[in-house]
C-alpha cells in the first residue's frame, strides 16, 4: 500500500479517480431516473393535476369551505347544517313548488322561479326567504294573504267536488323574498350534509356579468331556498345547549358560528381532519383507496348493473395525503361514498365493526364517540363526536365527486371492458 502524497491532504486529493467516478456515476444515473420517473410525469400526463370535472372543483373549493356542521347540543346526536352565503359569490335558487309560494317586492320578483317554469333562475345577489313581514316599503303579509286566497281558489276550481270527495285543502306555505343587511348570511337549506345541488342544463344566472369564475362553468352548485339560521339558547338544569329556532337570535359572524357554544366546523375543515384521522389511525394499512383496472375491483365496487370506473389520477388532487394502499384486509374504500352513503350505517360500524359486519377483524373506534360512562345515555351506541363526523365526511368524498350527480359516473367509463370480459368469458372483443 502506498502512502498518500504528503503534500495533498485535502478531501479531493485523497479521492482517487475511481472514487470520483463512482460518485459521479451514481449521481448521473440517479438523477436521470429522478427526472423521468418523478419530475416528468405530471407534465406528460395532464390527469395528474387537471380536475376530473367542474363539479369536483366546485365541491372542494366553493361548497366545502362554506358549509358548516355541528351537533345541536352537547350530547345530542342531531346534526345542524348551515350554509355561509356571500354576496356575489354563492349562487341561490328561489323555487316555488306545490306547497310553497314566494312573495317579493316588485324589484325582486324576477328572481323567483315559478312552479312549472322550465328554466331555473339563479342569482348571486344575496337574498333570503323568511315568514312574510310588513314594512314601509312592502307589505308582505297582505301580499301573502292575497296569494294564498288566489291559490286556494284555484285549487277549488280545479277540484270542484272536493267537499263530496272529502279532500283536504292543501296547506300552502308562503315565504317572503328579501335582501338582508350585510355582505354575508348564515342560512339553512335542504341538505343531507354530503351532497350539494347541481344544475347543468335549463338554467340561467341573472347577474349582469359573471361574478366568479365558477359561474362560467358548464354547470354550477347552488343553494336551494335559503332561510336565515337562528338559534335559541337553552338551559336545562346543568345542561347548556342551543337549538335551531327561526325566532331566535341571528348569527353575528363567522367567529360566532365557530366558537363556543355553537362550535361549527366547515366541511372543508372536517374533510381535512378526516384525512388526518385516516392517517393517524392507520386506516390505510388495511384498506386500499384505489379501484384497480381489474374485473374483480370494478365489479366489487360497482352497482347491480354497472361496473365502477377504475380510479383515475385526478380523483386525488384535493388530498394533502393520498392513501392508495398496499394491502386489503378490509375492503377497498375508493367508492365508499357511493356504496355506503349512510351516516347511520357508519355510526354503527365504527362503534362495533364486529357486530355490524359479521366476521370483520376491524377494531372498534369508540373514541369517535362521546361515551356515557354510567351507561345512562338514551343512545344504544355512543354519541358521535366531531372525529366521527370528520372521518365520515372524508369517506363520503370517495367516489362521489368524480362527475356531477346528474351524469352517471360509470357510463362510458369502462376502460377494461368489464362487461365484455364477463359476457365473453375472457374474450375481449375489439
Amino acid at each position: 500500500m502506498s502512502e498518500p502524497d504528503k503534500h495533498h491532504k485535502g478531501f479531493f486529493h485523497n479521492l482517487d479517480l475511481s472514487a470520483v467516478l463512482t460518485l459521479l456515476g451514481i449521481i448521473i444515473l440517479f438523477s436521470t431516473a429522478i427526472v423521468v420517473t418523478l419530475l416528468a410525469p405530471r407534465y406528460v400526463d395532464p390527469t395528474w393535476t387537471a380536475p376530473s370535472s367542474a363539479y369536483q372543483v366546485q365541491m372542494y373549493e366553493v361548497a366545502d369551505p362554506n358549509f358548516y356542521i355541528s351537533s345541536a347540543t352537547a350530547g345530542n346526536p342531531t346534526l345542524q347544517f348551515v350554509y355561509h352565503l356571500k354576496n356575489h359569490y354563492s349562487l341561490l335558487l328561489f323555487h316555488e313548488n306545490e306547497a310553497l309560494r314566494i312573495v317579493a317586492p316588485p324589484e325582486l320578483t324576477q328572481f323567483i322561479t315559478k312552479y312549472d317554469e322550465p328554466t331555473m333562475k339563479l342569482t348571486s345577489n344575496l337574498m333570503l326567504l323568511r315568514k312574510p313581514e310588513k314594512n314601509t316599503h312592502f307589505d308582505a303579509i297582505a301580499a301573502a294573504d292575497t296569494l294564498r286566497t288566489d291559490a286556494l281558489n284555484k285549487w277549488e276550481t280545479a277540484h270542484p267536488d272536493w267537499k263530496e270527495k272529502k279532500l283536504v285543502k292543501p296547506t300552502i306555505e308562503i315565504l317572503e323574498l328579501y335582501t338582508p343587511q350585510g355582505e354575508d348570511a348564515f342560512v339553512v337549506a335542504t341538505t343531507n350534509g354530503t351532497i350539494e345541488n347541481w344544475i347543468d342544463q335549463n338554467y340561467k344566472i341573472l347577474d349582469s356579468s359573471a361574478q366568479q369564475d365558477y359561474h362560467k362553468d358548464h354547470g354550477v352548485i347552488y343553494i336551494y331556498n335559503p332561510q336565515e339560521y337562528r338559534v335559541a339558547h337553552l338551559q336545562f338544569n346543568d345542561t347548556e345547549g342551543w337549538t335551531y329556532d327561526h325566532n331566535g337570535e341571528p348569527i353575528q359572524s363567522l367567529q360566532h358560528l365557530k366558537s363556543h357554544p355553537l362550535g361549527f366546523h366547515s366541511r372543508a375543515e372536517l374533510i381535512a381532519e378526516g384525512e388526518h384521522i385516516y392517517a393517524i389511525e392507520g386506516c390505510w394499512y388495511c384498506h386500499t383507496d384505489q379501484t384497480r383496472t381489474l374485473v374483480q375491483d370494478v365489479v366489487a365496487n360497482g352497482s347491480d348493473s354497472y361496473p365502477a370506473p377504475p380510479s383515475s389520477a385526478n380523483e386525488y388532487i384535493y388530498q394533502k395525503i393520498t392513501f392508495p394502499g398496499t394491502r386489503r384486509i378490509g375492503p377497498d374504500l375508493s367508492r365508499v361514498g357511493i356504496k355506503r352513503p349512510s351516516r347511520d350505517w357508519h355510526r354503527g360500524h365504527f362503534w362495533s365493526p364486529k357486530t355490524a359486519s359479521q366476521g370483520s377483524i376491524m377494531p372498534a373506534f369508540r373514541h369517535f364517540f362521546d361515551e356515557d360512562p354510567r351507561g345512562t345515555a338514551k343512545n344504544l351506541t355512543g354519541i358521535p363526536n366531531y372525529k366521527f363526523e370528520a372521518i365520515f365526511q372524508y369517506l363520503m368524498t370517495k367516489g362521489t365527486r368524480i362527475t356531477p350527480p346528474t351524469q352517471a359516473w360509470w357510463l362510458g367509463k369502462d376502460p377494461i371492458n368489464t362487461k365484455a370480459i364477463i359476457e365473453g368469458r375472457g374474450n375481449v372483443p375489439e
Binding site: 472514487a19 388526518h276 393517524i280 392507520g282 394499512y285 375491483d297 386489503r328 362487461k419
Partner: protein
Amino acid sequence: MENVKVVYEDRPVKLMLYPSILFMVFGMFVGVYMAFNTFLFPDYFSGEYVHFGRVRPVHVGSVTLLWLLSADVGLLYYFVPRLCGTPLWSPKLAYVAVTLWWSSFALGVLSYPWGTNFGWEYAELPTWLGMIPIKFITTIAWALTALNIMMTIATRKYEKMYVSLWYVMGTLVWTTFTYITGSYGVNWVPEGISRVNVSFFYIHNLVGLIFTPMGLASAYYFLPKLANTPIYSHRLSMIGFWAIAFVYAWIGAHHIMHGPMSQWLQTTAVVFSIWLFIPVWTVVYNLFATLKGHWAEYIQSAPIRFLMMGNIFYLITCIQGPLMALRNINEITSKTDWVIGHSHISLYGAFTFFAIAGIYQAIPVITKKPLWSNRLADWHFNLNLIGSVPFILALWLGGFWQGVLWATWANGTSYAEFHNNLTLLSFLDTIAQMHYFWVFRAIGGVIILFANILFAINIFNTIVLKPVPTEDKQLEKVKVTL
C-alpha cells in the same frame, strides 16, 4: 496489509449496535402482539392507543429504523474504518450523531400510538413532536453519520477500494436523497398522484437503495472475514453494484400496478424491475462461490449460516420482486398477505440475517471477548430458520390463495349475475379463509421472537458477564484480499 498498527475507535459501534438489538426484540414483540390481537383474536385489547392501525407503524418503525437501519449504521462504523485502514474520521462527531439518532428515531417511532403518524408509508415519522422537530433531527443525525463515514473513506490509508466501500458510498448518496425525498419532497409536488409516485419511489428505495447496499456491503465484508477466504470475484460484485445503481430508482411505480398511475410509468417500472435479476444473481453467485470449498465453515459457524441463509432469502425475495411487478402475477399477489411475506423475507430473512451475521463477527472484536455461547448462537440460527418457515410460507400461501379468491371471486355469464355472485361471497369470507394461515404466521412469529431473545441474552452476557481475557488474542483476522 497489517503493517500499520491502527487503533480503531469502537465506542460508536457499540452505541449503535446494543440499543438496536433491544429494539429488534421490542419490534418483534409488537409484531407478535399484532399477530394475536389483530388476526387471531381481533381487537381483544381494544382502544384508541392499542388497536392495529396505531400499533402497526410501531412494529414497522422499530424493526426497520430502530433495528435494521441502526444496526447497519453501527456495522458501517465498524467495517468502514477497517477497510480504510484508518480510525473513524471523528469519533466526537459520531457521538453527536448517535445521540441525535437515538433520541429522534426512538421518540418518533414510539409516539405513533398517540397519533403522530405522518401518513406516508415507511415515512411515518412526525415532522413535529410537540416542540421537537423529530424529522429534522433524524435528517441531521443521518447527515452527520454520512459525513463521518464519507470522510473516513476520503482519508483512507488503503488506496484501493473494496466493493463494500463502493456500496457504502452509494448508500451515503442514495440514503440522503431518498430520505429527504420521502420525508420532505413528498410535500413539494402537487397533491394527489404526484405525491403517491414520490412516496412509492421512497418506499422502494428505502429497501433498494438503503437496506440493500448496506446489507450487501456487510455481506461482502463479513463473509470473507468469517470464512477466512477472499471474495470470489471483485469484478462480478462491481457489475452487481452498477446494476443496482442503474435500476433501482426507476421501479417505484410497480407498487401501484393496475392502479391510478400512468400506464407508461407502470410499464417502465416493470421493465426495470426485471433488470433487477442482474444485481441479484451477481451477489448470490458471488457469495456462494466465495464459500465454495469452505462449506465446513457453514457447519461450524452460526454467523456464516446466517449469512448464507440470508443470501438464499435474498435470492428468493429478489426472484419474487421482479415477478410480482409483472401485470398478470401482480393481479394475484398484490394487496394480499403475499406482499407482507415479501417485505418480511427481504427485511427479516435477508437483511436482518446479514446484520446478525455482522454483529456476531463484530462483537468479539469490539468487546475483545469471545462470544458467550456458541451453542446459543446455533440455537438462535436454528430457531430463526424454523420459525421463518411457518411464518413466511403462511403469508405467501395465504396471500396467494386470497389473491386467487379475489380473481376468481365470482362467476356468471352476465354482469348482473357476476355482481350478484360476488355479493354472495363477501369480502369478509375471503378474510375468514385466512384464519389458519394466520395461526401459522403467529406460531412462526413466536418462535422468531424467542430466538432473538436468546440472541439478545447471548450478546448481553458477552458484553457484561464474561471477564476480559488478559491476553490480547488476535480476534480479528484481516483476510480481505483485493
